[in-house]
Amino acid sequence: MQFPAALRRAQSSAINLTAPPIARSVAGIALALVSFGAFLLVIGRNPLSAYATLFTNTLASPSGLSEVAVFMIPFVLTGLAAAVPARVGLINVGGEGQLYLGAWAATGIALFSGIGTPWLMLPLMVLAGFAGGAAWAGIAILLRRWRNVNEVICTLLLNFVAILFVNIFVFGPWKNTGGYGYPYTADFSPAAILPALGDFRLHWGLVLPLLGVVVCYVVINHTRWGYNMRAVGGNVEAARRRGIGVGKYLLLAMLAGGGLAGIAGMSEVAGIQHHLRPGISSEFGYLGFLASWLAGHNPLALLGTAFLLAAIFVAGDLLQISAGLPSAAIFILIGLVLFMVLGLKSRGRAQP
């Protein structure tokens, strides 16, 4: 039974744009900036000069652009961690925890393998990061397959466990004895550090998300695996009845997703922190998930949405310094952008 016209009438809304999605996204960002500007005005800051400062210090300066690229690395990788499982119909909200586990595993290699050459050390750390993230995501997919536990809730709760898990080590056995009491591990040896790219904080870890996007895009759109994944995600009942190995694809997609988030953790410790400590990620996993959603889980579009969120994130750091806001306040602006873009992007169909 369908009530299309009538339902739509009942739920029609004030906004009904006919513009193409990209234009509506831009409109959304603009609207968010205006709202946040109003907020700045209310708290007694000049929004125009704030925005001008932000622009010149992010997109219009080499150091700013470098910072944006630095944040794009984890956003894209954790975005892929959501995008790949989404292809088979799984929702991975556990990028945050998988990132921590990847960082933990890569740190283990960096501290204890004793390898002296970066050419062996760094690939091993990437593999370890992948394995750590994949293992963490594996818990969720196994509980799903074995006991039908919903993967959204499972991955969400595991994020909190992962952060505590890392704390056990950095406050405990891995704590640097010469670190003035800070809960940090010892600094990595030079072989375990991703070399800088250019004059600022940007490092060679940038290759990882770019490679990840290309591989994911090609596999999903041009190979038999990707075709079967899309079949599983589009209609699992049909895929099953046509003999496609549903369980195998669910498992592999989730492990691959978790692994990609794990690589993000590796990149953070090897490229930025050079040791492991609590709080290496400030909600990167969630922001990656949202970037992927804004991109419709399309790996290429993810580059765009991750860039956008990264730019706002960097701007947030500047606001913290220049306008004296607490760092978490940037989530007000990010929230506004997400609301406006999510809201304007969808056509406001009646019901799912």
């Binding site: 009538a6 190979t223 038999r224 695996w225 049909a238 190995g245």
Partner: protein
């Protein structure tokens, strides 16, 4: 016909509020007799009257100047093929669509219907093919949901008593506390009727009500019609089955391509005349299996050996099911939907685990085979729900045609869609049904197009065992006969066909043997020529023939 000027008085008489009291909160319990029924029907003023109803959609005129009079105490059948405009007309009456032209009156008074709420207020009730019931709620709660006015607190005892009263009066026999999810389709239909009666409907519209019923349940429904007529309800009933029109209708209107091809008193027309009116041509030649084979002793194509699944008290789980299907045989499965038919196919594919018993394909025990091996050894499977179980909605037609078979059309890991398209074209050559264009997305296709897509995929692979659920569902008469011919072709090249259908005529026409299922058990296995429709119908509902 009464002229418009006379209608005022008559209308107020007909609208005398006997029926209005039906569902209001009662101050005192009144005897059932006075609470129910509409009083004496006034038979010469139509309760519902349509004049010149026209509705256009982009590219089609769905309804073209249709006139229709429905009288209290009468059953009026609307007969027509798929796409003749029946559903559009019903949706106009019920307020989903607004007509582009034409007028509607009730009891002679012109009325405007903008929404289902309007039509309900006027006393029009509709039973949809897919019921508007909430399965998770009880019968009582479903009824309460549709009551026009009620207090803040649900008066469950009162509601339950009302359901029992109406059930008793019209022979509906329902437990008010049962969850709708646990009811059979026939029982759900009864809940719909109770709902409408208690919500003060006077004109009851039923959309293909018999499609979910076994033959003797159809007779039961018609006797409920008789009771409802006695109490003055007008019944408008949509169907495409001649037999039902002849059995129940006082009046019949035949729709063809959006126009009323004719209206007549029931019994005035023969079945042949009705078909001619409905199709505008002579009926397509019905495909019949005229050379029925008796199985010879050889290796069965498919054998179920005392197979049981699920829990013993679930009517859908199989219970010690045994049968053999021979090469070159069509084995028809008759049964009311939800009696183990779906489990039969899913057990064959290994989607459902067996508690006991074994399944053999050409003599091999396939119990531990992975699904792709079962399909690879020549099993084709046409599921009951094309959109839900057979196609990927977001994928294009081409992508869906090679679903699960991509290795046959594309050797390596890298996909070359142009080459796939070419090879697909070759393997579809000679397929008699028209297919949607290759670039269309499956979720944009009509039901008929979807079903043809699935048929094309499954019947062009040279399968040796074909499992077909309702293969002609959603197809027009001509395509349906072509589909039946396709199944006969499979049979004549030596494949065996397991045909699951709710259409007993189809089963009787095609099957070499007929197996009846009831509550997951084999209720009977016959040669069709040895049984009557009535006997099969009784077995389908748990009676012994």
């Amino acid at each position: 016909m009464v002229s418009l000027t006379d209608l005022g008085e008559l209308a107020s008489a007909a609208a005398s509020p006997v029926w209005r009291r039906v569902a209001g909160a009662p101050a005192v319990a009144e005897p059932a007799e006075t609470l129910l029924g509409l009083g004496t029907p006034s038979s010469d003023v139509p309760m519902l009257s349509l004049r010149g109803i026209t509705k256009r959609f982009p590219g089609v005129v769905a309804n073209d100047g249709i006139d229709l009079d429905v009288f209290g105490g009468k059953v009026h059948a609307i007969l027509g093929e798929n796409g003749a405009g029946k559903s559009t007309l019903m949706k106009i009456i019920y307020g989903f669509y607004r007509p582009d032209a034409g007028s509607i009156s009730m009891d002679g008074q012109p009325v405007v219907i903008h929404s289902p709420a309007d039509s309900r207020r006027l006393g029009i009730g509709m039973v949809f093919q897919s019921f508007s019931l909430v399965p998770a709620l009880t019968v009582t709660e479903n009824v309460a949901l549709f009551l026009p006015q009620q207090g803040a607190v649900l008066n469950r005892p009162w509601l339950e008593r009302r359901v029992r009263e109406v059930s008793a009066r019209y022979g509906l026999d329902l437990n008010p506390r049962a969850r709708v999810a646990d009811l059979s389709m026939g029982e759900r239909q009864k809940v719909e009727l109770i709902k409408l009666i208690l919500a003060n409907a006077r004109v009851l519209i039923l959309d293909e009500p018999t499609s979910v019923l076994a033959p003797h349940e159809v007779d039961g429904l018609f006797s409920v019609f008789t009771e409802l007529k006695r109490d003055g309800y007008a019944i408008l009933f949509i169907t495409h089955k001649m037999r039902e029109v002849l059995a129940s209708a006082d009046q019949v209107t035949v729709l063809r391509r959006g126009k009323a091809a004719g209206t007549a008193e029931g019994g005035a027309l023969t079945a042949q005349q009705l078909v001619a009116l409905m199709l505008g041509i002579d009926a397509p030649k019905e495909v019949r299996n005229t050379a029925r084979v008796k199985p010879r002793p050889q290796t069965a194509a498919l054998e179920f050996n005392r197979v049981s699944t699920g829990s013993a008290d679930d009517p859908r789980s199989l219970k010690e099911v045994s049968f053999q299907m021979m090469p070159g045989e069509i084995l028809g499965i008759a049964g009311v939907s939800g009696n183990g038919q779906q489990e039969l196919g899913e057990t064959l594919l290994g989607l459902r685990s067996r508690r006991q018993g074994s399944v053999h394909l050409f003599g091999h025990d396939i119990g531990r085979w992975p699904l792709h091996r079962i399909l690879g050894s020549g099993v084709a499977y046409i599921p009951e729900d094309a959109l839900g179980m057979a196609v990927v909605p977001q994928m294009r037609v081409t992508e869906n045609l090679v679903l699960g078979d991509i290795g046959r059309y594309n050797g390596g890991l890298w996909l070359d869609w142009r080459a796939i398209q070419t090879r697909l074209g070759q393997s579809l050559e000679g397929f008699p049904l028209p297919l949607a264009r290759a670039e269309a997305r499956a979720d944009e296709l009509s039901g008929g197009n979807l079903q043809r897509l699935v048929l094309a995929r499954e019947l062009t692979r040279g399968a040796s065992v074909v499992v077909a659920y309702y293969p002609a569902r959603g197809l027009d008469l001509v395509a349906a006969e072509k589909t039946r011919q396709l199944l006969m072709d499979c049979r004549s090249r030596g494949a065996s066909v397991l045909l699951v259908s709710e259409d007993l005529d189809e089963l009787m026409a095609l099957s070499d043997r007929l197996m009846v299922m009831y509550q997951g058990k084999v209720a009977g296995l016959f040669y069709p020529e040895n049984v009557t429709l009535q006997e099969v119908g009784l077995l389908m509902t748990g009676h012994h023939a």
